[in-house]
Symmetry: D2
Subunit: 332 residues, 4 copies
């Protein structure tokens, strides 16, 4: 049985709590949130304790693992404190927005054989994982190109965008990780176009809502990402991979299989699942499962600290490309 | 080169003429129609002669084949005259509405080794043929069930229905033939429900516009047909076959592959092809091709007189079932 | 909070227990099974008590509701005892195989304003419910035809078939209920063909594994059911409804959205969900939800005793049709 | 009636001839090919004359139009000669591989109000045109992104590649034109990655077989093209456009609608149409139609000389990007 402390009881923290308690080998011991009421509500729902401080939870030797779902700027400190307290860590993406801080964090914890998993949930989506597994199993021979379509249903609130680090570090970071996961090689070159076409507030924040990115690995494999932040038909999440002997695709998902056929149109289906909580419900569950399994087995983390770092390096290269008008080389 | 006389220059006759002239081994020599203007227009379009009478066309020894596309009540006489004049015959379905007349016709022509093909065009549809060929090739092992969905886009004009012989002999006759084509065995038992739900004029004619029919062969294979005469989304033509080791389906066709995704619905496609001329364009072409090939090769007709007769026997059994409330046995 | 006693801790009983405990307003108080070990395992898993007898559970006034998931032959007695003990009842289908016993049960309990819901889970499937709701909302105008495809992945074990009451009362009974649910009118006439084509043991039991059934309501609406018990590609569960202004379909479901495209075939997808536990997972959950909601609200049962009775009457009419070769009238 | 001279009787020339003669308002007068036998065969098939020289055909005042389907290096001279002879011209893409020659050609012919249409056939595909028309009709509001998937089934023969001008000027040029057609604005910036991953001979020619290109217009609209030259599942031709209020897609096409469902996979469909002759059959026909209609009506060419020039400028920008590692600005 793995006993968890949850740091952060906002929307995504509560979702993780719901998944945790359903896991036969996991238990929610503490909930901490800077907003006391949020922690209280979540803890009450699952019979957990409210931690009065981070220290209280980390100081309890009965706690085995920490789930970090607080705001991005707190991740580094919480990872460090948790690792130093000897806990395994499952931390929501991104590790941080600043690669220097990420590297410093690593220097500080690396000597402790840290068990830190980064919450790139999409790797655990059954369909995306099936594409990945088929590629690795050689079903399409040598891989040549990956196409990632990733579109949000709506531009986030201004308050969120102000601290999220920009489209490429906030939203595309998932796609950068997915690219690495599927390509089986590190992208070396990144070229990026990004725009603010949808909403005035995005432009005012010097942020973007529309982007296309191409990347290439050392052996010449290519990847294209296209992002958009107001797909009115739902949360558009697709991948496609082509290789020597075939193509693999993972398509969108809908709440039901209903089709309407009428005078105007045939095969009309429901809008696709609206956003990440619904779309990646199974993925979030499988992520917790993978974390618990790995900790219990003493196995390496399924998605490690370095995966979080490398996705950020890709976002940084994309931002440099945007500024320079060049295809930029990804830092090592 | 096969030289044709065309009897009947209505909508379907003109379509056959268009297909004929495009065939590299076929030529349109004569057109005959009781409406002189119709014959004239069609003949002019293709550089053919207008036949002043049936006899003129049949009397020309340069004519090898006859395509009968005139009204149903003329089929029998034209088949007989054409066979007796030594011509090969491609006759639109049905042979006749009266099985006694069909049998008498056969008695009269059978001694002449008649080359008579009945125009069950659906056997030549690339998708339906692909299902048939896959069944025969053993792809699904022993066949168990066939489901035929066959729905017209609209109730025909009253004038047409008055002479068409009723839903089961006019429209379902295609499905009865398709059932025989796919089942690979003769249906022995037929049970039928039919209604006039769509239009008052159908009811007044004691005709039907909505029907469900189930059939069984000697070995127990089953087939279901469902008919409807106002499918607002287009001409709904599908088949499905299940066997020991799998299922085969042939789906509807659309004029293009456009999909619309919006706030209300995703995957919205165009209405399916509207009616038989568009839907079975390739099939009608392949039908002519098969006829020409068989005549040239001296091979048996791909769909013979007996196939026309047997489809009518199934329609008759369905009508008896409707009257008796019983599963009726098909006559031999 | 609704406190349940579960009678029957076999495969389906355990699944219901898993769903129950996840419901925020439901609690599993007792588990009873004739096999003590089964009850013990299930109770332990959810922190419930093992009931030493039916009477113990029914005698506990803290128990509000009973979930009957034991063998079919015990349903009637358990319904009666539970109703007489003042409990609300959610009973797996069918009520019983013998309509006389069903009617006698009703006579005995009817005076007590019984809250008895029959577990026709398919009504709660999101896709089937969406079709139903769209029909009721008038989206396709007046309904004309319903087509139900319902195929099991495998013939059940002989021991199961020996007591299950035959294909039509065991498997098709779900489809009969679905037909009533969708048609919005009672079927009056039933015509049925059924065969044992798949397995020798089915034939030896005088049972069937392949069936086609057509039905008609008073207003002439038609329904076709096709059943088969070895669909190698998975648990084939589809419905289709056509009306004045359009068609509605609910298609099969798969575990993921992966597509394989290679030299031989394109759009290759995973086999559909294998059997009822996976396919109707959401439906079983929604069923419990609907039961709990209705009991809490004092509302009528969403699927009542009479629905269980009427589905059995349709099965009986189908068996009579099979014996008589006639379209049989359904008893009132 | 428009009388044509056909220059070039290779594969694509013969296809155009077949389409031409089927057009009610077009006639094939002359065929010319440097390979005399090729001209002879094609002319004989359609009852046309073999031109002993270009001059003979252009000198015949009964010739109204010229269809240029000869090798790329002859296009410029033939366009000039034809325009100077007062003929309307339908010329296969590309105009030439060298923009200086293209511009010189234009300088020479521009004063003559030349009727020159470039054969970008994909604009006439019913599905792609439907996407275009829906965008222009405002169905998705302001357009934001276009994704073009364009993959050949096989690497072309070495002899072809040696003169074709490289992947981007030979194959991608179609996609550049499609991008302009759909975007409704000129792309200003182009960034390109290209590789030779498939075949050694491609590498030896310093050519490419795998490419990803992103482009941006003045208003910030984005377009991504992905190319690959060995899609084993067929000729992969898809487009997708997203805008303010929805997405539009055009999918691949197959020879039939057959689906196979078995133990291993469901929904298995035929490989998509193999290559351009089959895939764009309707488009090539509609292209001829559009040319004939425009000439007859004295209307502007549906795809003009400048469209051919602008597509080449995009290819050139992409080649510059490949060399410089920069996003290159498209020349005016």
């Amino acid at each position: 049985m793995l006993r968890f402390a949850l740091f952060g009881a906002g929307r995504i923290g509560r979702m993780h709590a719901d998944n945790l308690v359903r896991h036969p080998k996991a238990e929610l011991a503490y909930v901490y949130d800077v907003v006391g009421e949020a922690a209280k509500g979540c803890a009450a729902r699952h019979g957990a304790m409210v931690a009065s401080s981070i220290e209280q939870a980390l100081g309890d030797s009965a706690v085995d693992a920490v789930l970090i779902a607080s705001s991005t700027d707190t991740h580094i400190d919480l990872i460090q404190a948790s690792v130093e307290a000897g806990k395994a860590v499952l931390c929501e993406k991104p590790i941080d927005l600043d690669i220097a801080r990420v590297d410093a964090c690593w220097q500080r914890i690396r000597g402790r054989d840290p068990k830190v998993m980064i919450g790139f949930n999409r790797r655990f989506d059954p369909s995306f994982k099936a594409v990945h597994d088929a590629i690795r199993a050689g079903e399409i021979g040598d891989l040549r190109q990956v196409v990632i379509t990733s579109r949000d249903p709506e531009v986030p609130p201004v308050a969120y965008m102000q601290v999220a680090g920009g489209l490429l570090r906030d939203m595309t970071i998932h796609d950068f990780d997915l690219a690495r996961y599927l390509l089986g090689e590190e992208p070396l070159k990144v070229s990026c176009f990004a725009q603010a076409l949808i909403a005035q507030e995005v432009k005012e924040l010097n942020d973007h809502d529309t982007a296309m990115i191409i990347m290439e690995t050392a052996s010449g494999r290519q990847c294209c990402i296209n992002n958009y932040r107001r797909a009115v038909y739902g949360y558009d999440q697709r991948i496609e991979a082509i290789g020597e002997t075939g193509m693999l695709k993972a398509e969108n998902r809908r709440p039901n299989t209903l089709e309407r056929w009428d005078e105007k149109a045939t095969g009309q289906k429901a809008p696709i699942l609206h956003f990440f909580i619904e779309r990646y419900q199974e993925a979030y569950n499988a992520e917790i499962q993978a974390f618990v399994d790995a900790v219990e087995a003493g196995a390496p983390m399924p998605v490690g600290f370095d995966d979080g770092r490398k996705a950020l390096l890709l976002a940084n290269a994309a931002y440099r490309s945007l500024a320079s008008g060049r295809a930029e080389t990804v830092e090592a």
